[in-house]
Symmetry: C2
Subunit: 596 residues, 2 copies
């Protein structure tokens, strides 16, 4: 391809509405153009990048025995109603674009395809003999983000690879999950990007085990915790760790202390010469469930630790077997609207009586009581006395109403020791999620009554897995991980072109002829090469080449009269002066041999 035919329009200045480097560079290099908020056109070079990624994904999916399909983008509402997701996805904060057609029927624009894939499987798969099956597609999906940002990172139209597997038993599902896990690692490695696989929360998709693949980058939206030995990594929402040791509480008799104006852990510690790890902090949450019950929850956690709302939410859903609609800490206003006045915020103890809930209008009148392990493990501790301006010291669980149900609901933190090896600590990194694999179990097959006949002739719902990769996001994440001050440094495998030939002066006959000759030679051996045939100054062409990030550049300048050219490795900014033949040979080695 020749630059003169490539519609190469680059910007020197940084576009105003682009916050992160990868977004800026993709716009400046004319890889993407904004058409509306969160909606982008993929320009010719970007499309080449996306196709190269797609090709790698297709090869690895085929190797993992997945069948490629293309499923509809318009989904009938009935399908989503049967899994109970239509309302959540379309009402209030729902992120599914939806419309009525000319017949007045509701349709949604697919943000994910569990419903469609499962309903197809239901029609096609009748017997265990047909299992396992895995279908996938690479397609544009839609999310009505309220605040689209960072270019392709959080856009409203984006390209996903999503796969759905169907199994006759859980063991087989787990085997496939491992196969896909390995396929994902190969895909990202082949794309030339570094990723970390982390334990993740399953969120709105649901299911049991799930793992996210994160491209590490400082601008990443997700905080991930990684063990320094590389053996453990998790999203902070999901991460577990060993909490730091609590400081011993000097032996004292159980007693009351007066604590005026000591309503926070910090105030209490500084006035009473205590360490936060000696205190049991009590927080009241209100959970509203899908059966419309409103449950006050009394959480005890060590004073130096924080509650992880996602862990708490998952714990509640699993233990109570119902779905949470909202979860938040209790505020004074909510008390008033319930007709409750006397909760002594700042001095609450784990044994706060259920009596305080008496007369509440819509709340349950008993607390659900949960203690995080950090609190539960304390033999003696300081806590509120349930009277304003008063705490108890050297108290035990026995003398404060007994130990409630224990749970891991604390936020793991960088610096914590690891569960798998207490000598190893967690460090924090930021990451960009580019893949997510789930063991869905039977959630969707049960909802859609998608059954098969097992070996005993009995009908049962499939076991399912689902496996996503954000193709367009991955392309931008690669830029976020691979760029410098001059522009993008595309990994070779997904670069829009592998080599760019730049005649320093295109009006010089020798340079022009040699460039054309080299262009022809490289095309013949199957190298994806771009020839900058513009009559621009050399400096302009070099700047553009740096910006668009082609991995190898050959500069054909004055010294070409002596048969010499410059070979520049973009990422390393390393320049070699080589003969024409040496340069060609070097490119063959670096590119063709690696492609195999």
């Amino acid at each position: 391809m020749r630059v003169s035919r490539q519609l190469l329009v680059t910007l020197r200045e940084v576009p105003a509405d682009c916050e992160i480097a990868s977004h800026q560079l993709l716009v400046r290099g004319n890889f993407i153009r904004r058409v509306a908020s969160g909606i982008y056109a993929y320009m010719p070079m970007m499309w080449k990048v996306l196709k190269k990624i797609t090709c790698i994904v297709e090869e690895e999916m085929a190797a993992a025995d997945c069948l490629e399909t293309l499923l509809p983008q318009l989904h009938p509402s009935e399908l989503w109603e049967r899994t109970g997701r239509w309302e959540g996805y379309t009402q209030g904060e729902g992120i599914m674009f939806h419309l009525k057609d000319r017949q007045g029927r509701d349709l949604g624009l697919g943000p994910t395809h569990e419903e469609v894939a499962t309903s197809l499987a239901k029609e096609l798969i009748r017997s265990y003999k047909q299992l396992p099956v895995c279908i996938y597609q690479i397609q544009t999906k839609f999310r009505d983000e309220i605040r689209p940002r960072f270019g392709l990172m959080r856009s409203r139209e984006f390209i996903m690879k999503d796969a759905y597997s169907f199994h006759s038993n859980e063991k087989n599902l787990k085997e496939k999950y491992d196969v896909m896990n390995n396929a994902y690692r190969r895909i990202f490695a082949r794309c030339g990007i570094e990723t970390v696989a982390v334990d993740a929360d399953s969120g709105a998709i649901g299911g049991s085990a799930s793992q996210e693949f994160m491209v590490t980058a400082n601008s990443g939206e997700d905080l991930i915790l990684i063990s320094t030995d590389g053996l453990y990594a998790a999203n902070q929402e999901k991460a577990t760790s060993i909490a730091p040791e609590a400081k011993d509480l000097e032996y004292l008799e159980e007693s009351y202390i007066s604590t005026p104006n000591q309503n926070s852990i910090n105030e209490l510690c500084s006035k009473q010469d205590l360490d936060p790890s000696q205190i049991v902090k009590v927080i009241i949450y209100l959970a509203i469930f899908d059966d419309e019950t409103e449950q006050p929850i009394l959480i005890s956690i060590r004073g130096d630790q924080e509650v992880n709302d996602i862990k708490l939410s998952n714990f509640l859903e699993i233990n109570l077997n119902k779905k949470i609609v909202s979860l938040s800490t209790l505020s004074q206003e909510k008390l008033v609207s319930q007709g409750i006045k006397e909760i002594p915020f700042g001095s609450i103890g784990p044994d706060l009586k259920d009596l305080v809930l008496e007369g509440a209008k819509s709340w349950e009148n008993k607390f659900l009581r949960i203690a995080d392990h950090t609190a539960a493990d304390l033999k003696k501790f300081v806590c509120g006395s349930n009277k304003l301006n008063s705490h108890r010291i050297c108290i035990s669980w026995e003398s404060s109403g007994g130990l409630p149900q224990k749970a891991d609901i604390r936020k793991a933190n960088p610096g914590d020791r690891c569960v798998h090896d207490s000598k190893v600590r967690l460090i924090a990194k930021r990451g960009i999620e580019v893949g997510h694999i789930f063991q869905l179990g039977r959630k969707y097959s049960e909802a859609l009554e998608a059954n098969f006949t097992n070996e005993e002739g009995i009908n049962e719902p499939y076991w399912m897995g689902c496996y996503g990769i954000g193709i367009s996001r991955l392309a931008q994440a690669a830029v976020e991980q691979h760029h410098d001050d001059s522009g993008i440094c595309w990994p070779l495998a997904i670069a829009p072109f592998e080599v760019i030939i730049v005649p320093a002066n295109n009006t010089n006959e020798t340079q022009r002829k040699l460039s054309e000759q080299l262009y022809k030679n490289l095309l013949e051996v199957g190298i994806d090469v771009l020839l900058d045939d513009r009559d621009e100054r050399a400096g302009v062409k070099f700047k553009d080449a740096d910006l668009i990030g082609i991995p190898w550049r050959i500069v054909i300048g004055r010294d070409s009269e002596n048969g010499n050219v410059e070979l520049v490795e973009r990422a390393k900014k390393k320049t070699l002066l080589l003969s024409f033949e040496q340069a060609t040979q070097k490119l063959l080695e670096e590119i063709c041999l690696k492609k195999g």
Copy 2:
């Protein structure tokens, strides 16, 4: 690929809701599955067909210097408002799905991309030096069809290739149009389907010249007229021809004749012993324009000919330079609602006085008078006298108010002689439109103020062309053209697999081993082969192979003990008994050599 992993689920019976053969066969062979009305999932084998077509299209587009992109599917309403198409596409009979996002902004689901492509060009192309440029994409588009039918033929989600070219002058546009025309012919030929290129009406897209590519098939929705010498073809909407000669009217004096109950041409002819070609038929149309004028139109046409509404509509729009909102013949009810009573339907002559329109509420009070050439060319004719039950005989244009504006507004018919050669006649075929190319001119660039600076430094709008192929429709049209009673006969280049190996009895060790060996051999030389490794009866496997239409089948049966296999050519139902080696050699010749 092995059948056991392919999710091959075939139906023996014809599905109830499928009207045409290709739709039935694609459903029966599990190529497509209906998810909602007019919305289909492309199953694994269909996706392979679509990818093979896509690959051919991409190669030919690259050869025609087109750059591949991917444009958004969600379009902001503002863009379509600027070209004046938002209302027409979203209100009333509008076929654009549309919705409001969470910010309350209107978005449409792209049925076509002139607005998006032109607005991108406007941002990127400033100078004639950057022209010409042609961008294209292959993508799912949407149309809210009120009556989706025939499977992928008229579906609500469908895959299109659409290209948009930008030029600095009309000559350059016409050159590109020719290049694309040739590229289209190569694409269809390479896909193995026969098409006819026909002159077409430009419809809602607009522009001057346009050509449709039709797959000929009896179930086609479009009537096309083709000259027997193959040099001319046109959609009936657009076709021109030489009308049959009129019968001479025996010389007589101009006179009135009484014609009670002779209100139709047929009645008049049989009672008066006339030929329809001797009569001037007068029809009144009412055209409503976008400037809200309502214009009565008095059409004169020879009694044996019919008015072509599309030709009439185009003639009016070009001559009056405004857009038609509706065009229909006048009815008695409309007269009454305008307060007009006395139009002598059945006896109207070309000289009907404008006076009859006097007092009309909203209509213009003068007729626009048009004579089709067939009527204008008559020296003497029979026509109504503008009085009930009375006609005039042997009248001339001079004595009937003078010749009005002439136009070609008649429907061409099969049997008519051709304009390019009067010795050649037109025949009718039915066709399925799979491609359409347009010279758009400056319609969109003017509306969106998409300008470039020409060589003289003056700003002017681009010249544009656009070029579409219905990829998913083409796949089904190929089936409509290539099938028999047993199933599909895919053309080799777009077949889901090139060869299917069928061991007659998979439990027979010799047959199984030989099948596996052949499978391996063919894969190694790059043949796309399917192995039917199921433990089914041979008859079931043969029926499935016929249904799904793989071009070559190798049957490994009892005679394989002697090293012999059967090679079956699906389309010709021709069977050869060959040695294992001969069969392999024959396949290499038929497949690999043709691929080059």
